[in-house]
């Protein structure tokens, strides 16, 4: 008996050390993702500038290309997490994943004028869309949070489009956000961070509606 306990506890220490190593390693991948997402964000911000509206599609294309790096880091991250431990470490990448979903959704709206689906985002990130046994997946709430971040950015884009003399984009944005709002209203949200973020959507919509209103009362949309 005497010899059993020390051996038992040595093996326990191995397990504890192992977990610590994973955690450190996860943090480092997440830092890389954060760095990359910041760079893409900085790129996308340029479309708000004076000539930004004209180059929007170009910028979006560049942004999409930068997802190669994103994919690489998600692959790296995924390789570190045994699938059944996804939720043990989820908090580490929750925030950055939401931001990346926003970037993917924004890019796609600029290029195609439509909402990117969850499975498309997953593909852009090189992760699975649904939880499966052997893979790293995209959490639904992270995707939805990212979509709501995009809506906020779009309302700003509507304002700046007008300043740049583009009166059509605001209308497109307005229609799109109205539809998005309808989608979210189908969800029965709890009183959590998602609900709170969704509550902000109505102000973004109102802002865009005001822009559209300003355009219409001045007959500007016909001027183009």
């Amino acid at each position: 008996m005497s010899y059993q306990i020390p051996q038992m506890f040595s093996s326990f220490q191995d397990v504890i050390d192992q977990e610590q190593i994973i955690r450190e390693s996860v943090k480092s991948s997440v830092q890389n993702l954060e760095q990359t997402s910041r760079t893409i964000l900085a790129l996308i911000q340029t479309i708000h500038q004076e000539n930004g509206v004209k180059t929007a599609k170009e910028v979006a294309q560049k942004a999409r290309e930068m997802f190669t790096t994103v994919r690489k880091y998600y692959e790296e991250l995924a390789s570190k997490i045994p699938s059944e431990q996804y939720y043990k470490y989820h908090d580490h990448w929750r925030f950055v994943t939401q931001r990346i979903c926003f970037l993917a959704a924004f890019t796609t709206f600029i290029q195609d004028g439509r909402l990117i689906s969850k499975s498309e985002v997953a593909e852009m990130l090189n992760v699975k869309s649904e939880r499966t046994k052997d893979s790293f997946h995209l959490d639904l709430e992270d995707y939805l949070m990212g979509v709501l971040q995009m809506a906020s950015e779009l309302s700003r884009f509507a304002v700046n489009s007008v300043t740049a003399g583009d009166y059509e984009t605001p209308c497109k944005i307005s229609n799109f956000m109205s539809e998005l709002d309808g989608g979210f209203r189908l969800l029965n949200l709890k009183n959590d961070s998602l609900r709170k973020k969704f509550d902000g959507l109505k102000y973004d919509i109102r802002k865009v509606e005001e822009v559209v209103y300003d355009i219409r009362i001045r007959n500007l949309s016909t001027k183009k």
Partner: protein
């Protein structure tokens, strides 16, 4: 709930015997309370769904949605609420109030929201009380002419106060679809509501907190009405009329406008 402890194993001392009977009483209370909490939780979820549904009134056909909400609430009353009434029958309701007040408040919020959409006024307590009164009930355990769920004033008022948030959402969403009347009506109603509540001296920290939230909601609606006024000041009169009359067209169709 079956007890794993076989009663034969319990020593037959007076102490153990009385504790056995205490156990029966405690279990009965906890079980009832547990059932009420579950009912309350389901009522909360369903009430929230009704509220979400009613927010679609800015986008879809109003009267149909109101009918649907009426139906949903009625079925909630006849199912979950009737069960709550049965559970509470013959009890001191204040013993269990904590278990079902959350559901009650959310239900009051839904009912008052629906009532506002219909009548543009505050739902009277009597209407809620009537909805929670059931006649000629015949359940296995209870047969009685009338049973009801007590609605304490404070809990009613707490539910009502939450209405402020929903009306604010409605007001802002309305502007989004070009309806400028609703925000003004809501603004006026919320002011009266806020003034009334401010004079209502029920020292209750929950009330104070909710009153603060109500004030924020009112403030948001006032700002929205301000924006409407400011924006309206620029529109050519005739265009404004067109806009107001075309409330139901949600989207800005550029082509149509070109015509």
């Amino acid at each position: 709930k079956s007890h794993k402890y076989k009663d034969d194993d319990i020593p037959k001392t007076p102490l153990m015997m009385s504790f056995t009977s205490y156990r029966t009483d405690l279990d009965a209370k906890h079980d009832k309370s547990e059932r009420l909490v579950k009912l309350s939780r389901d009522i909360t979820i369903e009430s929230k769904r009704v509220i979400f549904l009613l927010h679609r009134t800015t986008k879809e056909d109003k009267s149909n949605l109101i009918l649907e909400a009426d139906k949903k609430l009625h079925s909630l009353e006849q199912s979950h609420w009737k069960n709550v009434a049965l559970e509470l029958h013959g009890e001191d309701i204040y013993l269990f109030l904590r278990s079902y007040t959350q559901g009650l408040q959310e239900y009051v919020e839904a009912v008052s929201f629906l009532y506002y959409l219909k009548h543009k006024d505050l739902v009277p307590l009597s209407i809620v009380k009537d909805s929670l009164t059931f006649h000629n009930v015949d359940s296995g355990a209870v047969t009685t002419k009338t049973i009801s769920v007590e609605v304490p004033i404070i809990d009613f008022a707490l539910g009502l106060t939450d209405l402020g948030g929903e009306l604010m959402r409605l007001a802002i969403n309305s502007i989004g679809v070009g309806d400028f009347t609703t925000p003004k009506e809501i603004c006026s109603f919320l002011r009266a509501f806020y003034d009334g509540l401010m004079n209502f001296r029920a020292t209750n920290w929950q009330m104070n907190k909710k009153l603060q939230v109500l004030r924020n909601s009112l403030s948001k609606v006032e700002n929205a009405c301000y924006t409407l006024k400011i924006r309206g000041s620029e529109a050519p009169k005739e265009l404004l009329r067109d806009l107001v009359s075309s409330v139901s067209t949600t989207t800005c169709n550029t082509d149509e406008y070109d015509n």
